[in-house]
């Protein structure tokens, strides 16, 4: 008896990727994708999804392992080889030229394949008719909503004869209605025989649209399932399960008065979409509130609104009982709030020295009349460095020349030395080694013990579980769950981060 194997579109065999900086992104990923499937690839930030797709698209080379496309070993020296083989990629950030019309973009993108302008437009119209993808050819990209731009990217891939379409977190920029439209389009594309790789961290979407799903965690394949046969719970478990690195000493909390209160806060993102949708929370003295969630679910806009960097659209923010909703950041900081941003390049000016960086957020202390007291500032810098174990040649060393851990410790120390009452720490240990991570986490617990309120934003679930007295999960701009830490476990947070609401 002959068993006929279904034809394979893509086969990954033992893909390893070690970046030059030693970061291991993939540890032997192997799985195969059948022709005509919508195939989900699920994982958290840093699970290796994007690295794997960039390898498939020829943008980066694997350290070892092979890829077969339609049964032929693929050796790509760049994306153009991939495109010629029939692979199309739609990134989260589109590669379209904003000032050009849709038609111009399509023509330009097909030029290297030797397809004439006339031919491009004919093909575009054909594939639009076949799949119901409608894009206005004569409009400029800049005047189109994001959802339509994404369609242009898909049409672009079709015009280039894509047989395999990769969509990297395609719904992260879309409104719910646009997501539904996209799913309709994807189903039609599947009918026409296209193979679709759907990269996501959202469990709901995996269930809604994919035929099969592979879960990646820390560069390894945790398993492949038929979507129909797997529960969201199982997927969540596969996505987040891990051993805890180290534990922290924490005394029981004795929370005091609420220091930060947020009521019905709405904030828009840079692209004008609602990013925070009606968030309510309150943090008391002597308490750490941890907000978990996959990056890009509104956390950044949320903390920027609280710290006065971004104007909220609606809602109130109270700091120690005082309404600070409309104050700008310098006034907010002066009233006792400290914000430690997730990018050190945002909290520190890399090309100037430590003292100057200290001065930047604390000018009124060291130059009450507009003249800088350098000696006082240098002393303070030294004391921050000593208190927070910052290793640097001198206070005059460029911040750029410090290690990431030392930069983080300095940024934290600078803010804490101002004696704020409310500290917002966004990804405070991202990219730090184990020692520095432990140090920073201990400091945050110390602050809580001394009666401060700490708002911790982190995509690292261990960190959230270890540090928080209370946990909230942010998903698509909403806090979809909030409660004491004992009511949560990794699995539950994993589900919530994937957008599945669970009852406690």
């Amino acid at each position: 008896m002959v068993i006929s194997m279904p034809p394979m579109a893509v086969e990954f065999e033992g893909i390893h990727k070690i970046y030059p900086d030693g970061n291991i992104a993939l540890r032997g990923a192997s799985f195969s994708i059948e022709v005509g499937e919508i195939y989900g690839i699920l994982g958290e930030n840093g699970a290796g999804k994007t690295t794997l797709m960039r390898i498939l698209y020829g943008e980066i080379k694997p350290t070892s392992g092979t890829i077969k496309i339609f049964d032929h070993v693929a050796k790509f020296s760049g994306p153009w080889d991939a495109i010629k083989t029939g692979i199309g990629m739609v990134y989260q950030h589109f590669s379209l030229i904003g000032g050009f019309t849709v038609a111009e973009n399509l023509i330009l993108s097909a030029l290297p394949l030797g397809i004439s302008a006339q031919n491009v437009l004919e093909r575009a119209k054909e594939s639009m008719e076949e799949t119901g993808l409608k894009v206005p050819l004569e409009e400029r990209i800049n005047s189109l909503p994001v959802g339509v731009r994404q369609r242009v990217e898909i049409v672009k891939a079709l015009v280039r004869n894509a047989k395999i379409l990769i969509l990297d977190e395609p719904t992260s920029v879309l409104t719910p209605i646009e997501v539904e439209d996209l799913f309709e389009v994807l189903k039609k594309l599947r009918e026409s025989g296209l193979t679709i790789l759907f990269i996501t961290h959202k469990l709901k979407e995996v269930k809604a649209i994919t035929d099969k799903v592979t879960v990646l965690r820390k560069g390894q394949v945790m398993g492949t399932r038929r979507t129909k046969e797997v529960s969201e719970l199982e997927l969540a478990r596969m996505m987040v399960e891990r051993e805890v690195l180290f534990s922290l000493e924490r005394s029981p909390t004795r929370p005091g008065n609420p220091l930060l209160e947020v009521k019905d806060l709405w904030v828009r993102s840079d692209s004008g979409l609602p990013a925070v949708k009606g968030v309510n929370l309150s943090i008391r003295a002597g308490e750490i509130l941890g907000i978990a969630g996959v990056q890009g679910n509104g956390q950044k806009e949320f903390v920027e609104a609280i710290s006065g960097i971004r104007k909220p659209e609606k809602g109130t923010i109270k700091l120690k009982g005082e309404d600070i909703t409309d104050l700008d950041n310098s006034k907010v900081y002066r009233r006792g709030l400290a914000y430690i941003p997730d990018m050190r390049s945002m909290g520190l000016v890399m090309d100037i020295d430590l003292v100057s960086n200290l001065l930047l957020t604390r000018l009124e202390e060291f130059s009450p009349d507009g003249v800088i007291r350098w000696r006082k500032a240098v002393e303070e810098t030294k004391s921050v460095m000593k208190l927070f174990n910052v290793v640097a040649e001198s206070v005059r060393t460029q911040v750029r020349r410090l290690s990431g851990g030392n930069q983080q410790k300095f940024m934290l120390g600078r803010e804490i030395a101002r004696k704020p009452d409310v500290i917002i720490a966004s990804e405070p240990t991202h990219g730090l080694d184990v020692g520095a991570t432990e140090y920073v986490r201990n400091k945050l617990v110390e602050l809580r013990d001394s009666g401060k309120a700490v708002l911790l934003i982190s995509t690292d679930l261990d960190e959230i579980m270890q540090l928080s007295d209370r946990i909230a999960v942010m998903y698509e701009g909403e806090l979809i769950a909030q409660g004491p830490t004992r009511e949560f476990n990794l699995e539950k947070i994993g589900l919530l981060m994937g957008g599945v609401k669970v009852e406690p």
Binding site: L96, I97, G99, F100, N105, L108, L111
Partner: protein
């Protein structure tokens, strides 16, 4: 009165040529995302080299050719420093301007022993139209503008070139070689500025002086803004700015008070300032203009 108006209008045709040539060249360069404010220096140096070549060989054509080649060479310098080595394009442009002025003075002294101007040079033969002498470079510059317009907006290569000025990252993702395209655009632009320089010494003035460009490179830059980066409008802008040039010459010749003549010489510059101030706000420049393309 009517005769004077005709004089003024026909008088604009000569000053218009360098503004159109250099302006159209700069439009091509800027559409690719490179700004070359060194075209003043390119024009000066090209005016010098074409003058020197024509002086020693007697060939105007060879002079213009060498002037264009000088532009090409300076464009190569600008392209290598500003495109491939990611240098600051403004600084490179200023450098070329200063360099050109220095070379011009040194050459004048070395070759002809003067600090001001060269001896008379052979010039392009004029064609007579309605009693006014018109340079054959005028139709040449008109043809070049129309060709540039067609090239930029109706050909594949023009599409690629403009993509580099709009969004180099996306352009590259769509298969455009951004750096090479920008270099070529810079070469074309500087070559046209070189031809404009040759026109100054071998067509319009008939000798080389160290102030022969008198800021015309910068007026050509103003023409780029006026024309909204469209070579066809650059023809109109060239004529308008050329008219003010012609007006300044007319006013200083006919003025009774010789000291007033100096004041009238400011007319083209003041007019440029006003026109740019009026048009700058409405202009949409290529979004990536002047930004080196650095890959991740």
């Amino acid at each position: 009165m009517l005769g004077e108006v005709a004089d003024l209008l026909f008088g604009a045709l000569s000053p218009m040529i360098p503004l159109v040539l250099a302006g159209v060249g700069e439009i091509i360069t800027e559409q690719s995302g490179v700004v070359n404010i060194g075209i003043e220096g390119v024009m000066l140096l090209s005016a010098l080299t074409s003058g020197v070549v024509a002086y020693f060989t007697g060939s105007v054509f060879l002079g213009l050719l060498i002037g264009t080649a000088t532009g090409l060479a300076l464009g190569l310098l600008h392209g290598v420093l500003g495109v491939y080595l990611k240098g600051d394009q403004i600084v490179v442009g200023v450098g070329v301007n200063l360099f050109a002025y220095g070379i011009a003075v040194v050459t004048l002294v070395t070759l002809w022993g003067t600090y001001g101007s060269s001896p008379q040079l052979p010039t392009v033969p004029k064609v007579e139209i309605a009693g006014y002498p018109v340079s054959p470079l005028l139709p040449v510059s008109i043809v070049i503008s129309i060709a540039a317009w067609y090239f930029l907006f109706y050909t594949n290569y023009g599409l690629k070139l403009r993509a580099c000025g709009e969004d180099p990252r996306s352009a590259e993702a769509m298969g455009v070689n951004v750096n090479r395209t920008r270099l070529i655009a810079t070469l074309i632009g500087a070559s046209l500025a070189g031809l404009a320089g040759g026109h100054l010494s071998l067509d319009w003035v008939g000798q080389f002086t160290k102030e022969i460009t008198a800021g015309r490179g910068f007026i050509a830059l103003a023409n780029v803004v006026f024309s909204k980066w469209n070579p066809l409008y650059a023809l109109v802008g060239g004529f308008i700015f050329g008219f003010f040039d012609s007006l300044a010459i007319y006013l200083s010749i006919t003025s009774m008070n010789p000291s007033m003549a100096y004041l009238f010489k400011t007319v083209p510059y003041v007019a440029t300032l006003l026109v740019v101030a009026a048009f700058m706000r409405k202009a949409r420049m290529p979004p990536s203009l002047g930004k080196p393309y650095i890959k991740e």
